[in-house]
Every structure is written in C-alpha cells, then in structure tokens.
Amino acid sequence: MTATQKVKFYQVGSFAVGNRLLEADQRTVQADVSRNNTITSGHRACQGCGEALGARYVLDAAMRATAGKLVAVNATGCLEVFTTPYPESSWQLPWVHSLFGNAAAVATGVAAGLKAQGRGDIRVLAQAGDGGTVDIGFGCLSGMFERNDDVLFVCYDNQAYMNTGVQRSGATPSAARTATTEAVGPEPGNAFGQGKDMATLAMAHGIDYVATATVSDLHDLEAKVERAMEFHGARYLHVLVPCPLGWGSNSSDTIRVARLATESGLFPVYEAEHGSVTAASPIRHRVPVEDYLRLQRRFRHLFDSQGAVKRPDIVGRLQQMANRNIDRFGLLTNEVA
C-alpha cells in the first residue's frame, strides 16, 4: 500500500484492502494465478479451518520467496493428517513428517544435510500446531533456536490439541473450555496464570526474526513470511488460526474471530528482530473482549442464553490481559512500550 493513499478501499466489514485495487506487485501471493498451490486441493481439513488457510498462505509465500527451493518438515497434528491420507498427498513441495515433538530437530537435520551436500540454497520450513510447538516440541524448538539453525519454524496456533479431540495445551487461553478443562465448577475452563507466551520465548533466544500474525490479515501474514526468508538462521512465526471445531465458532466466522482476537488486544500482532520488537499492527477498531468471546462456544459459560455477560469477574480478567497487551505493544498508539 502506498502511504499517500487517501481513499479507503476497504472491503465490507473488514479493513483489508482489496487486491484488485493494489498495484500488481503489491497483491497477495494468493492473487497470483501462477502461485504454487503448495497445499493443493483435495485435503481433508474441516470447513473453515484456520490452519489450512494459514498454512496455504505461509507455504505459497515461502515458495515464492525461495523461488521454489523449499523443503517442509511437519510435526504430527491436524495439518499432517489432513494433507497426507496415504496414498494421497496435498503437498506440492518436498515434505517430511517424522514425529509429534521433533519437527524442529528434523528440520535442523534437513538443513544440515543439504548444507553438507553443498545445497544450502535450499531453505527449510518447519511447521507444527501449538502442541507440537509450545509443549511436546518445545525442547527441540529451543535447541534449534539456540543453535541458530537455518530454519523458519511456523506455529499454527489454534490454542488446544484439536487433532485428538480438543484437549488443553500450553497455549490454551484462560477460561477456555476444552475436553480436559471442562466448563464446570467455580472456575470453569482453563486456569488463569498458565500458558506460554511463545513469541516472547522465541525472542528471548535472541534469534534474528520473530513475528506473530493471524489469518484475518493474510497480506500481513505473507509479508512476514517473505521478511522471514530474508534472514538466514533460526526464525519463528506464530500464526493464530481459529478452529471452528475446537472453538465452537461458525465455519464462516474464522476470519472474523481471528480479527476480533487482534482488535480486542487479546492476540497482539507484531514483529521483532534480534530480540526487540520493531513493529506492531495497530488496533483500528477496538472491541471489548466479550465481542470476541461471544462468538465461541468454548467461552459460552461466561454468557447467559441471551448473550449477556454472566461472569463479569472472568471476562474482566480477560479484558485486563487484553489491556496489558495493548499497553505493552502500543496497539492503540502504535508506539512500542
């Protein structure tokens, strides 16, 4: 987008600028008829799957950024399962899956193997869900970051173990109902004061590039993938991907829910280089957290049948978390605190 643009070309209900109104070189990779279709059609993802959408944009952008010289390593999880029902495969790039918790280490091995063969021009992208990133895959991921291996690790965060039936992970938000944090008792849903801030943990490793993104701003997501591929060494991209099944949201609301996560301040979207935040996406239309929560059955216990807040104490605590994000990243002023 050019800075001098005055006229708002916003699509209905969103702040995304229509591709057709942009210069050809500014349009999304997905708008390009010659895009790679790295995850091609026919896969088995649920309707409205945020992960399928996010991965499609990430992979196609990475393929363009590397001129097709890319290998993908996948952790066990929905993305692996729905793309490779043997003998079929959606993957239009070299792709390997080993285990749930070792995608980062396998990616290290692929990168090292290629380098040893003098083929270091081929880049490596590892991908996992939040479980394969913040929980079972964390050891291998931290090791890969610490060694600064030449791998872009992408976490598609749908905030629980969806492939096994929606169990709590270290990325599940407070108060959210999962199959192992049921909405019963005096403090229904997931406990407060738990969970990992994975992007911050990645930054603490001092790696060159860390970014967060959501599937509500796909242009931003592509741009971050392209930026990430400009660095050599360990990089981390954390993408919020709503899961209609696990979140209890409408399939048609995936983009909307992701947008409200950022517009409420619950999911800050930012970039960091060499351990410091360099940019944050401003909130352009702030909403209270209940607007985000109300669309999801995993937070239904916080509302009554009319949609009114039933647990103002819990919603209040979630609002405080959003407020802290807004302050910390300067999401309303676009000034990083």
Binding site: G68, K69, L70, V71, V73, N74, E80, V81, T84, P85, Y86, P87, S89, W91, Q92, L93, P94, W95, V96, H97, S98, L99, G101, N102, A105, V106, A107, T108, G109, V110, A111, A112, G113, L114, K115, A116, Q117, I122, G139, C140, S142, G143, E146, R147
Partner: protein, 417 residues
C-alpha cells in the same frame, strides 16, 4: 596399520573414514568419547564436508539424523542406556521410515537404580524397532562393524545399530587395525538414496498410513530384515576380502562342532567364555561357544547349524525380561526348537558386575551335570535378597527397592536409624 588406541577412538576414526555428512552428538556415558573424537576430526578439518551438531537431547540427535538422512546425507550418532530410551520414539521412526542411519550403542544398564556400567538392557529395549542390530566382541570388530554398518544400511535401506559394551570396549585401550581412507572408500560407495527431499522432484515422506496399507508396509520392513540375513554374511565376506580379516557376519562359532555343551552370548563376554572353553577342553570337557553377531535380524538357521547336536545349551545374558527370564534365550530356543537340547538362561554381569572365568566354568559344569536350572542369576548375594523378600512377605508397604534394602540394613540417606 596397527595402533594402540582406545576403542572409542578407533570407532571415531572408522566412522570418520565412512565420510558421514551429518553427525549429531549428545553426551552420555560411556558413549561420549566416540562423538568427542568425531567432533574433533570435523573441527580440525580432517573429516571434511561433515556438519557436526551439538543437540539438546538424544531425542533431537536421532531426529536430526532422520532429517539429514531424508535429505540424502549420510548420518551418524551414538548413544547409551537412558539416552537410547529418551530417543526411542525416533529410533522406531527411523526404522519405520527405513532411513539408513548408523548409530553406535555403547551398551549400558538402564535405571532405576541408575547405573552407568555395562549390560545389554538398553539394546533389548529396542529389539523390535526395525533396526539391524550388530554386536561387537572386540574393539577390532567394533571398528570394522561400523564400516560394514554404513554399507549394510545403505544397501538395505535400514538403520543399523552397532552395539559395543560400555567401558569394557569403549574405554579399553588395545591394539587395533584402523582401516585407511583408501580402503574404506573402495569398500563403501557414496550414499545414493532413491527418494530424497529435493525441490526438483518433490516427495511426501512420512504420510498417515491407515489399516488398508499399514500391514503391507510393516511386512516389507520384516522382509527387508530377512534379506539382511543374507546380506550381512555377504558384506562380512566382502569385508574379509578387502581388509584381510573377518569381522561380523551372523554368528561366530568357536570349537562348537563336537561340543556337548554350547555357550551362546552377545558381545565382549565371548572372549572370557572362549578362554573358559579352552581350559575346559584341555580337561576333557567338550565345550563350544557361539557368539551372535547379528541379533536383529536373528539368524535362526545359522544358529541352528552352529549349535548342531549339542545336548546342552547355556545362554549367558547381560539382560533379562523382568517377570519372564531370558530375552536372547527365547530366540535361541526357537532356533533349536526341533533339537533335544536342554537350554538354560544364565543372567550375568548386570550393571557392570564382573563375570569371572570361575563363574562361567561353574555354570558349564553344572550344565554338564544337569544341575543348571532353566534360569539362574549367577553371583547373586543371596543374603541381601532373602532378607528383603522376607520383609516384603510380612509388610505390604511399598518403596524403592534399592532404598528398601538399605533401610533393612538400618541405613537411610547415609544416616543410621
């Protein structure tokens, strides 16, 4: 050229001569000297074109090897005991994917109680992981088996584990003929896998295989192991022609042809057993020894032939299956199921306990006199065990075994109670 070397150093030199392209290292006693040696050779430039990666766990070590192998690079790592257990999910994965990774297992006991010394409990824990499992009797054989291992792995598209006894071999310094680079290059062609992660020809590796095809994939894993039975012998023969000495193969028979009692074992204990056999033969007892070099695939036919008509078979094992008995013995029993031999399992040398010649001789004499039980733990401190068993019989309270024994001796955390 003969050199006076520590076993680990000789293995490091042999591995380096195989020109691995990715080596991952995580320390665990008694394996560490091997990867330290390879690391030094990479750092000094003697082993060129190799990425040496210090990983954060054994699970990562095997995972890095999997990635490197899938990308078409020759990959190597080494581990022991707890390390092997920590990587076990990836060990099975490499086996299932058929990636020709080579790994040294410096055999060590598994805790609890934690114990760093030699036995074969670790190897037995991955018996069914789909790897070729070779056992070295000596440091010369350990050295040679690594060169054969890369050849076998890449010929068969199977990972190969070279087992060498921790400390007994890894830390023993002896005269070893380390193959030259020229010899190894002539024996081991470059790694040329059929399917690699290459953008020019994209493949999907590691897909989700359902009930309709899983059995076929698993059967092929078994069939490859059966092929390996033939290939292991061929590679050992070829090695003998190229290097002028025999190492490896399926089984190694020693004075077993006319033996009345045959002792079967794995690893370095075979040297002691052979000495005992020599002494007993001088006294007129017909003792033979059969060492199993290839534990997986298990050489049923070759073992049957090697044991021949011996009436008594004693399997000396440095591991056992709790609640059952011998592990190796079960396989040996199957190999001689149609013979009338009496088979006994002798559990010896657990957690590094020495197995002296007198112990082995006594076992053989008891076997000859039909006094050897189906399962015997040798050199057991009967007093300690009996006291603890007696206590347990009258007291249902649980507690960790080693610490319970101490409490019976009125010692708790080094205090008298």
């Amino acid at each position: 050229m003969l050199r006076q070397l520590e076993g680990s150093r000789a293995v490091a030199l042999a591995v380096a001569a195989c020109r691995p392209q990715v080596v991952c290292a995580y320390p665990i006693t008694p394996q560490t000297h091997i990867v330290e040696g390879v690391g030094e050779l990479v750092k000094s430039g003697e082993l060129a074109g190799c990425e040496f990666i210090n990983v954060e766990s054994e699970f990562a070590a095997m995972s890095v090897a999997i990635g490197a192998s899938a990308a078409g690079s020759r990959a190597y790592t080494a581990t022991s005991s707890q390390g092997l257990l920590f990587m076990i999910e990836a060990v099975y994965n490499a086996g299932g994917l058929g990636l020709p990774v080579v790994m040294t297992l410096a055999n060590r006991a598994i805790g609890a109680p934690i114990n760093i010394w030699n036995d074969h409990s670790d190897a037995m824990a991955v018996r069914d992981a789909g790897w070729v499992m070779l056992f070295a009797e000596s440091n010369q054989e350990a050295t040679d088996l690594h060169i054969q291992a890369f050849r076998l792995a890449e010929d068969l598209s199977l990972p190969v584990m070279v087992n060498m006894d921790g400390f007994v071999l890894t830390h023993a310094t002896e005269r070893i003929d380390v193959p030259t680079q020229e010899q190894v290059d002539a024996f081991l062609p470059p790694f040329e896998p059929r399917q690699v992660l290459d953008p020019a020809d994209p493949v999907t590796i590691g897909a989700l295989v359902g009930p309709e095809a899983f059995t076929e994939v698993r059967f092929l894993a078994h069939a490859k192991q059966l092929q390996a039975i033939g290939r292991i012998g061929e590679v050992a023969d070829e090695f003998a022609r190229s290097f002028g000495r025999r190492s490896g193969g399926l089984v190694n028979s020693y004075r077993a042809e006319d033996a009345e009692v045959v002792v079967v074992a794995l690893g370095s204990i075979l040297g002691t057993i052979k000495d005992v056999a020599d002494e007993m033969r001088e006294r007129g007892t017909k003792v033979g020894v059969v060492g199993i070099s290839s534990f997986r695939p298990f050489p049923l036919e070759a073992l049957h032939e090697a044991i021949g008509d011996a009436r008594r078979v004693v399997v000396i094992e440095r591991a056992f299956s709790t609640g059952f008995g011998g592990v190796l013995s079960t396989d040996v029993a199957l190999a001689i199921a149609d013979a009338r031999a009496r088979i006994s399992t002798v559990v010896a040398g657990l957690g590094g306990r020495a197995v002296p010649e007198a112990t082995i001789a006594a076992v053989i004499e008891d076997a000859m006199a039909d006094r050897l039980e189906a399962l015997r733990f040798v050199d057991l401190d009967e007093g300690v065990v009996a006291r603890e068993l007696a206590r347990m019989a009258g007291d249902r309270r649980s507690g960790p075994s080693a610490e319970n024994v101490l409490r019976d001796l009125r010692t708790v955390a080094s205090r008298s109670v």
